[in-house]
Point group: D2
Chain length 135, copies 4
């Protein structure tokens, strides 16, 4: 869960949050979600384990305006050997205004996909949503 | 067609273009593509016609680094009454490193979806890709 | 006071926070500082009172890296009739890594400088630093 | 000289270019200015020579809106052993709307200030503005 205001820097001349900036909010959401389940991405990087975004989808359901308080939440699905999917929602007053999905791949320092370390993967699996919600 | 370098502002600590910044490159690409077929988005806004992004998909195929020259190109498919799809590719030396799609909706100044003006839609239809490539 | 992590989106290929992004952190800092003294910028906008940045200075003292926790703080000086200065510092573990100043001007909806509303100005004056520190 | 449009991504809910985004335009301007005098920053990085921004000042004289064409230009002053100053102006139809200055420092890969390589410095000196304009 990541809470933030909408600042001027997030908006565009249409008066609402610029569409690409929702992806930045997704990053803040997944960073803090993973931290909450014991996965510190910066710490893993020090050990040569990097998580890259490979695919993204974004669905804009409603608009968000300057000063509004937003809440971003993430969850995990489809944990494989070298990749996993994260689902994100950004809400205002409990109602989703944006949804999205990111496919994350585990790579080494040269960018080559590698199996996720056991401890990393175990933590993801423990939080994985039931198959019913991931299909 | 929109050509640009990769500047520091486009990159992240991973040494490559930050994933969300590809969407900003998509915007520059579609703006100039549409301008090239006689559709100036800022001019249409003055007449109360706004184009919003409703859905986005993004596929990261390869990385781009500081100083590299990139080329973004866009095309049109699925022109409906109030919306159309744009397909984007970002290439380096003629090879795609990122692909994506944006669903664009035509709205009035209150944000309500409306039929595209005749002249606007006609220009889109003239550039629409053949059905073979859009399925 | 505004606390945040350094996310990938804040960094550049040099591995540190991209210089222009400190100004974004300044905005978050002044927004929350002003809110804390009873000035909600979005609420004032609804009444036709806008605060624009007119001048900025930025001093980069040290670097900040991915995952680090930063703290931004702001203060007020030189409150005049239509403008005021804000001083910002971004610290890591209590040590400033960036300092800056923004000259803020009060304008109406047409962008014309106007006298600050009495209540707005009174709140700024109450927090203004002593002359000793503002020279 | 760097020419660009104002895109949605550059603007904020005030309908104009977000103040911090002028610094991003400065970067594009200095990158291309330096390239034009034979200094490719990415190439120098491959040799372990990095140019960091140390101080910035920014003066907002007028606003820029969506779709407008802007022109950024840079010049050099105060070339010292390990640092130099760049002056930037962003214009619309030949009239400056933003001015700024960046102090650039030459560092090695560890971030330590170092003397600029001879060839690098010689090219800067050849373009340095006369003392009359730099004071």
């Amino acid at each position: 869960m990541y809470r933030t205001r909408v600042y001027y820097q997030d908006t565009d001349a249409g008066g609402v949050v610029y569409f690409a900036n929702y992806l930045k909010l997704f990053e803040k959401s997944w960073f803090n979600y993973l931290l909450g389940i014991g996965i510190s991405l910066p710490e893993w990087e020090k050990q040569g384990i990097f998580i890259l975004v490979k695919k993204v989808s974004l669905d804009l359901l409603d608009k968000a305006r300057y000063g509004e308080e937003l809440e971003a939440s993430s969850s995990i699905s489809d944990v494989k050997n070298a990749q996993f999917t994260m689902n994100h929602a950004i809400s205002r007053n409990g109602k989703a205004i944006t949804r999205g999905e990111t496919l994350m791949v585990c790579v080494d320092s040269t960018g080559k996909p590698i199996r996720m370390p056991g401890d990393f993967r175990k933590r993801l699996l423990a939080c994985q949503e039931s198959s019913a919600t991931t299909t």
